[in-house]
């Protein structure tokens, strides 16, 4: 591991910013991390599922409890990637058993509920300390970054929970009905095992694993970045790395010599007198090349004791640089193709008759369609014309409240029949004849909108609403009498009956009904 090759910009950060740095580090290599994750964690998950297949409700809890194990492979990868050497698949797989076994028991037992889990993990796994020394070290680090490590765990458990609920809510409607628990019965039953379908529990466990896979690497990365930030602050890691790089550069010798020489030359050059920026440009090969040319110029100048620089050439060179490149964007635009249109009309002058035929066909078709439409309308005119008129007979009920009210079922002279029935002492029959007769008239002639589910009360309301005051008034009296006789079984007086018969209004003008 070469510290100089660091691929992370270290500088003292606020804790939250360090967390963000961790997220950025994970995002950079998310694909590889997830691949390693899938190869190491998924087998464990399958194993857990197989062991707990009888009680899937416990799977998320066990998966959550085993989290310290999952963290180690991503951390191993991240710690190597931070220093420029991303471990390959085979190498990681070789390290896998060692990573999981190291400090495995404490991490899964008494350290499991530690709130600074992801912050302390790098200290445990990467620093090579053990026992009391490691504990002391973690304590020291936690004095500076422990609080942020704690809030980190809080934030990420919150995010994980939110994402889990979000995923479950988002996919809930896709579940088959058999897998959806009976929410209303849940509180009453209180027996989770029996009232929630097992499919639902399995689905919840799968969602949980998916979310853990999504979020946990970021949690590990954030903890690692917090650890780096902590060491940066209390130990000056960023300064150390910069010094190491500087030492490497200075001791490599030749480069330093060249820079010093160039700076010297640059200082003596009338064109670039004392420009310290040129000396700093050692990392940029282009600039170095330019500096080389400059050196040549200076040498020439010194030999000829006069500076000869061709302004035109310099300008040309400067204009060739990428900053002065003119970017062009090609885009296609639709232009009407007049040319080809003309051509086609020129090529086919004799085909004008086609147009006539086409027009003729069009008109024929139009006429045919129109006449067919007219024919169709005429043939089916009853559907359109007689609609409003024919509605009432279609809808007119034949039986109301268990009584047949068709015209055919009634005698021709209803009043006479009623009087006859009254005379024999059958008051109920008499009133029933009158009532049925009046309903029959109202429904069939007056088209009062009475439906077959209406009661006496409803019929009366409809009749009153339909207007025709005298008829409505009569019908009201008749209904009263009929209800009294039929339901209350109270007799009606002779005078009343006589009045009902005399006032019978449902007669066609100029003859008996």
């Amino acid at each position: 591991m070469r510290l100089e090759n660091i691929t992370v910009n270290l500088r003292p950060r606020q804790p939250w910013e360090a967390v963000d740095l961790g997220c950025a580090m994970v995002r950079r290599d998310y694909g590889r991390i997830i691949l390693l994750w899938a190869c190491t964690v998924l087998p464990l998950w399958v194993l857990v599922c197989m062991l707990l297949h009888a009680a899937p409700v416990w799977i998320p809890l066990v998966v959550w409890w085993l989290k310290p194990l999952y963290d180690r492979v991503p951390l191993f990868f991240l710690s190597r990637a931070a220093f420029g050497e991303r471990p390959g698949f085979a190498e990681t797989m070789k390290q896998w058993p060692r990573l999981w076994l190291k400090n495995c028991l404490p991490a899964l037992l008494w350290r499991r509920l530690s709130f600074i889990r992801s912050f302390a993990l790098p200290a445990q796994m990467l620093e090579g300390l053990s026992g009391g020394a490691a504990n002391q070290r973690i304590k020291t680090l936690a004095m500076d970054g422990g609080g942020s490590g704690l809030s980190l765990s809080y934030v990420f458990s919150k995010i994980e929970l939110a994402a889990w609920i979000g995923l479950m809510a988002g996919t809930y409607d896709l579940l088959p009905e058999a897998a959806q628990p009976e929410w209303s019965g849940l509180s009453a039953a209180l027996d989770i095992e029996s009232s929630i379908p097992r499919a639902f529990l399995w689905w919840g466990a799968a969602c949980h694993m998916l979310i853990v896979t999504l979020i946990e690497p970021f949690y590990v990365g954030a903890g690692f970045a917090l650890y780096l930030n902590c060491r940066t602050r209390i130990e000056g890691w960023d300064v150390e790395l910069a010094f190491r790089r500087m030492a490497a550069r200075l001791t490599s010798g030749s480069a330093a010599l060249v820079i010093a020489l160039l700076a010297l030359m640059a200082a003596s050059s009338p064109l670039h007198a004392a420009d310290p920026k040129l000396a700093q440009a050692d990392t940029n090969p282009e600039l170095r090349k330019m500096l080389g040319e400059l050196e040549g110029n200076i040498k020439k100048a010194r030999l000829g004791s006069e500076v000869k620089s061709d302004p035109a050439k310099t300008v040309e060179k400067v204009l060739k640089e990428p900053e002065f490149e003119i970017h062009k964007i090609k885009s296609k635009k639709w232009v009407p193709d007049f040319k080809s249109e003309k051509k086609s009309s020129a090529e086919m002058p004799s085909l004008g008759f086609l147009e006539i035929i086409g027009k003729g066909l069009f008109w024929l078709l139009l006429i045919g369609l129109t006449s067919w439409l007219v024919y169709y309308l005429v043939r089916n005119r009853h559907l359109f014309i007689s609609r409003s008129a024919s509605r009432a007979p279609v809808r007119a009920p034949k039986v109301l409240m268990g009584m047949n009210i068709t015209r055919e079922s009634l005698p021709d002279d209803i009043v006479a029949a009623a009087r006859a029935a009254w005379a024999t002492g059958d008051g109920k029959e008499a009133l029933s004849l009158l009532y049925r007769g009046s309903l029959s008239w109202l429904v069939n002639r007056r088209r009062v909108p009475i439906s077959d589910s209406d009661t006496e009360e409803d019929c009366l309301m409809q009749v009153i609403q339909a207007g025709e005051k005298p008829e409505a008034e009569y019908f009201r009296q008749l209904t009263g009498a009929w209800v009294q006789v039929a339901y209350a079984l109270l007799p009606v007086s002779d005078a009343e009956m006589g009045a009902l018969c005399d006032q019978w209004p449902f007669i066609e003008k100029g003859g008996a009904a």
């Binding site: 992370v8 003292p12 939250w16 950025a24 995002r27 995010i159 500087m246 030492a247 200075l250 001791t251």
Partner: protein, 255 residues
């Protein structure tokens, strides 16, 4: 190599070829700020419901009061963030607790239109529930933007510069020009060293100074003294101009 380094500073190139650095804030701190805003809103709703039903219910009747209360909730939910973010501070109370603010991608304050757009799209980020879309989106975009941010071209950034303790103790070292020309990064490292050295233990200072031995050309405390001298020399450009460094002096004398 340097370009590929992971960082939380995100550079944005503006129209004039000017590059600015944004200290973008990620999902963790933003979720905390959101939580605080949520708690504030809930507290306001509780307070408002007590006040409105106590004062207005007798005058307007319970139905009208309920309607007004629901209207109030509607406007709070949709415009709470908009008003604060488009305001002078550019941040909601929750964001101010964590020293955050919403910025346009160009580094300027957000316009009202941007604030409206990024907050109305909250609904999309909320889907399917509890901001799952927003969380995933923030985790996987370079500037930690959720969909609303991407559409409105905004970022959430830290307001305060990182808190660094600058040494208050006088340093017992004479100003000394570096023996070699240093890159900008190395100069920055030297300045960081002189600023933060008082925070470290003596051993650590010596350890770091010994790493810079190729520059100081001296081991132990002498190397540390020289290193501090060079850092002091870098700190004060006025002095630098008055007495040019020996290297450049040599160049002048030669020409």
């Amino acid at each position: 190599m340097a370009a590929a380094r992971a960082d939380t500073l995100q550079s944005v190139e503006l129209a004039d070829g000017v590059e600015i650095q944004l200290r973008v804030a990620g999902v963790a701190v933003r979720s905390m700020a959101y939580l605080i805003d949520l708690l504030i809103r809930i507290a306001i709703y509780i307070g408002a419901s007590i006040l409105m039903f106590w004062l207005l219910a007798d005058v307007l009747g319970p139905q009208v009061t309920l309607g007004l209360f629901l209207l109030f909730i509607f406007f709070m939910e949709w415009f709470y963030n908009v008003i604060f973010e488009a305001g002078a501070k550019g941040a909601t109370p929750g964001q101010r607790v964590f020293k955050l603010r919403v910025m346009s991608m160009t580094g300027g304050p957000v316009t009202l239109a941007q604030a409206v757009m990024r907050n109305f799209l909250r609904v999309v980020d909320f889907m399917p529930f509890f901001y799952l879309t927003g969380i995933v989106c923030m985790l996987f975009t370079r500037r930690f933007q959720r969909l609303g941010d991407l559409v409105a071209n905004t970022v959430v950034t830290y307001v305060e510069l990182p808190h660094t303790v600058v040494a208050q103790v006088p340093i017992q070292a004479e100003r000394l020009a570096p023996s070699q020309v240093l890159t900008r990064e190395e100069q920055a490292a030297l300045l960081q060293f002189i600023e933060r050295a008082p925070l470290w233990a003596d051993e650590r200072r010596l350890e770091l100074a010994s790493l810079a031995q190729p520059l100081t050309k001296a081991p132990g405390p002498e190397g540390l003294r020289r290193l501090c001298g060079m850092a002091l020399w870098l700190q004060e450009p006025e002095e630098k101009r008055a007495t040019p460094p020996p290297l450049k002096g040599a160049a002048y004398s030669r020409s």
